[in-house]
């Protein structure tokens, strides 16, 4: 109890210095948490993948289209329970900043393979009946305040022209990892447009196939069967699990993610240096006090405890405040980025890492001054006063 009181009084002896150090810790720990949450959010799509879905795309690159007729051939492969396809639609809604994912899909087969996209029967029927209809995710609807019946004008980018879609349904999912910020429209409408402008070859192309399988343990074998089917053709395929495909997409941003990770650790290193400086100054100022304590009979270990205790106390308070601040910070960040990330939540792992970072900062910052002070010569230390 006495030592705790002493630690507390020592920690706040120089209130401004301690306060500024704590502010630095709060900023560093919350920034660390935010950056880790951003990295986590990048991988959230991977978490939302299904083991019963494969993605088949061009073996050359994901940007190369595949013939539409591949669907029928894939469907015949043993173990395949369904096939659907999609094209990345692109386009701009009013302003480039209003980014959200838009896919032209084959409605009936798409919803069969993505059962987590839950939409009412009435809305689904309305979507099927309207060639310009669209289904949007719940988050997207909330972001723009859209309702069923609203019109979404899109300025084409990949597919030129002014497009207009009517919202016929809003999907939601019980799985928190499901992306609810996607807009789906009819692939047939896109195909028809391409047929008119570019001819039938362009009209019968898809960006990728989503293949449903009934037995996840056969995913590798079925993938090989699909790719073997189109080997030596003009459009060879590459099939992989949905998770692997998503990881591949994330890997395309690997440099950015590495930079974010590096910055998150640099922030912690900086505050560690600041904190170490604070503790070193503290120890130097109290040289005579530590010498007095040792003269009175207190062991070097007691002096070590005082320094580590004080450092940890500052780190724990600053760290806890930083962790608490992470939540409103991520909420504000989420608000600014809209539906860019499917899931943007501070994970328990992130909180654990934040706590560990604060503790490591507290321990390492005190290590050098504690070692120095434990070895201080009493006579020299007492002369420090004189």
């Amino acid at each position: 109890m006495f030592i705790f009181k002493l630690l507390l009084k020592n920690a706040f002896r120089h209130k401004l210095r301690t306060l500024l150090t704590m502010v630095g810790l709060v900023v560093a720990i919350s920034a660390f948490g935010l950056l880790r949450t951003i990295v986590d959010a990048w991988y959230a799509g991977v978490e939302g993948t299904s083991s019963t879905r494969l993605i088949t795309r061009s073996a050359i690159s994901v940007g190369q289209p595949l013939p539409r007729y591949y669907a029928e051939r894939i469907r015949k492969i043993e173990g395949v329970s369904g096939v659907t396809w999609a094209n990345w639609f692109g386009g701009i809604y009013l302003d480039r900043r209003n980014f959200f994912a838009r896919f032209a899909v084959d409605g009936p087969s798409y919803f069969a393979i993505y059962p987590e996209y839950q939409v009412s029967d009435a809305e689904r029927i309305a979507f099927m009946a309207d060639r310009q209809g669209a289904i949007i995710g719940r988050d997207l609807a909330q972001r723009f305040g859209w309702q069923v019946g609203d019109t979404i004008p899109l300025s084409g980018t990949i597919y030129p022209g002014n497009w207009s879609f009517t919202i016929r349904g809003i999907y939601a999912s019980p799985d928190p990892n499901t992306d609810e910020s996607i807009m789906l429209m009819h692939w047939s409408l896109l195909s028809e447009n391409l047929r008119k402008r570019l001819g039938s070859t362009a009209a019968e192309q898809v960006a990728l196939y989503v293949v449903g399988i009934s037995d996840p343990s056969r995913a590798s074998a079925i993938s090989q069967d699909i790719d073997a089917l189109f080997r030596n053709s003009t459009a060879e395929t590459k099939t992989e699990t949905e998770k692997s495909f998503q990881l591949g997409m994330v890997a395309m941003s690997q440099t950015v993610l590495m930079a974010i990770r590096a910055v998150s650790f640099v922030v912690v290193l900086i505050i560690m240096a600041v904190m170490a400086n604070t503790m070193t100054m503290t120890a130097r100022e109290r040289l005579a006090e530590y010498a007095t304590l040792k003269a009175l009979g207190f062991s070097p270990a007691f002096v070590v405890k005082l320094l580590f205790g004080e450092s940890l106390m500052i780190a724990v308070i600053g760290g806890a405040m930083g962790m608490a601040l992470t939540f409103p910070l991520t909420a504000a960040f989420m608000q600014q980025t809209g539906t860019l990330f499917k899931v943007f939540e501070v994970s328990q792992t992130t909180l654990l890492y934040q706590a560990l970072a604060a503790l490591v900062v507290g321990l390492l910052a005190a290590a050098w001054p504690a070692w120095k002070m434990s070895r201080i010569d009493i006579v020299q230390g007492l002369r420090h006063v004189a």
């Binding site: 006495f2 002493l6 007095t292 003269a295 009175l296 009979g297 062991s299 007492l382």
Partner: protein, 235 residues
């Protein structure tokens, strides 16, 4: 060599202390032989650099001799390791410093309680000891005050209470009045007189001040690391 008697508390034989500065050995104390009896009040005097503070530090066990022995109540403290020496100091030595060396974040009460944390006393027992000691130095009414709320003389009285609270065998004082004005210094010396006469404490005090030194029952002079003019030698 001095001859030990039953009431000898401090016995120093052939003590030398040499510092090394820039590779050059600098002798500070040379072949010191000294005995201090129990309940003696000894003042160590001498010019600056004579080695009196070094001798006090060696007697208090906060410095190690280059050679020779220092026996305090029969214990050769020169042979103790750091941990054993720290335990020995906690149990046997009370320190009074020139600049008081109180913990600024602790109250007078807490400063006096500090050495008792190294004992097995309960909180209640510690409280009784601290209050009685503060009463003795006439600071019972200031026990909740922090050092910066006390005058220099009061701070030194708190330091004396801290030195006294564990009832040590020996009290060492390094220029206890050096930072005080004449009147306040007198009060502190009067208090040390009380410790000596009323409580029978053995005190070794370093001072520059002949008047302060005259309070002691025995004055020892050091010059250039050598004992000169020790009245005990005349006996």
């Amino acid at each position: 060599m001095s001859t030990a008697s039953d009431d000898t508390l401090i016995r120093i034989d052939h003590l030398t202390k040499t510092y090394s500065r820039g590779g050059q050995p600098i002798p500070v104390l040379m072949d010191i032989n000294l005995e201090v009896r129990r309940a003696e009040f000894v003042s160590l005097m001498g010019p600056s650099g004579s080695g009196k503070s070094t001798l006090l530090n060696l007697i208090a066990g906060i410095d190690q001799p280059t050679s020779g022995t220092i026996q305090i109540a029969g214990v050769d403290i020169a042979t103790l390791d750091e941990t054993a020496l720290a335990d020995w100091r906690a149990a046997n030595v009370g320190f009074i410093f020139q600049f008081y060396n109180l913990m600024p974040v602790l109250t007078a009460y807490e400063n006096v309680e500090l050495p008792l944390l190294l004992t097995n006393l309960t909180r209640k027992q510690r409280k009784a000891h601290v209050e009685a000691t503060l009463e003795m130095v006439r600071l019972a009414d200031r026990m909740d005050h922090y050092p910066n709320e006390l005058s220099g003389g009061q701070q030194q009285r708190v330091a004396i209470a801290r030195a006294l609270v564990t009832d040590p065998t020996l009290i060492v004082a390094d220029e206890p009045t050096g930072d005080l004005d004449r009147a306040t210094g007198e009060e502190v010396l009067a208090l040390m007189d009380e410790l000596h006469h009323d409580l029978g404490k053995t005190i070794v005090m370093v001072t520059h001040d002949p008047k302060a030194a005259s309070r002691a029952s025995r004055m020892i002079h050091l010059e250039k690391g050598v004992l000169v003019d020790d009245p005990a030698d005349a006996h």
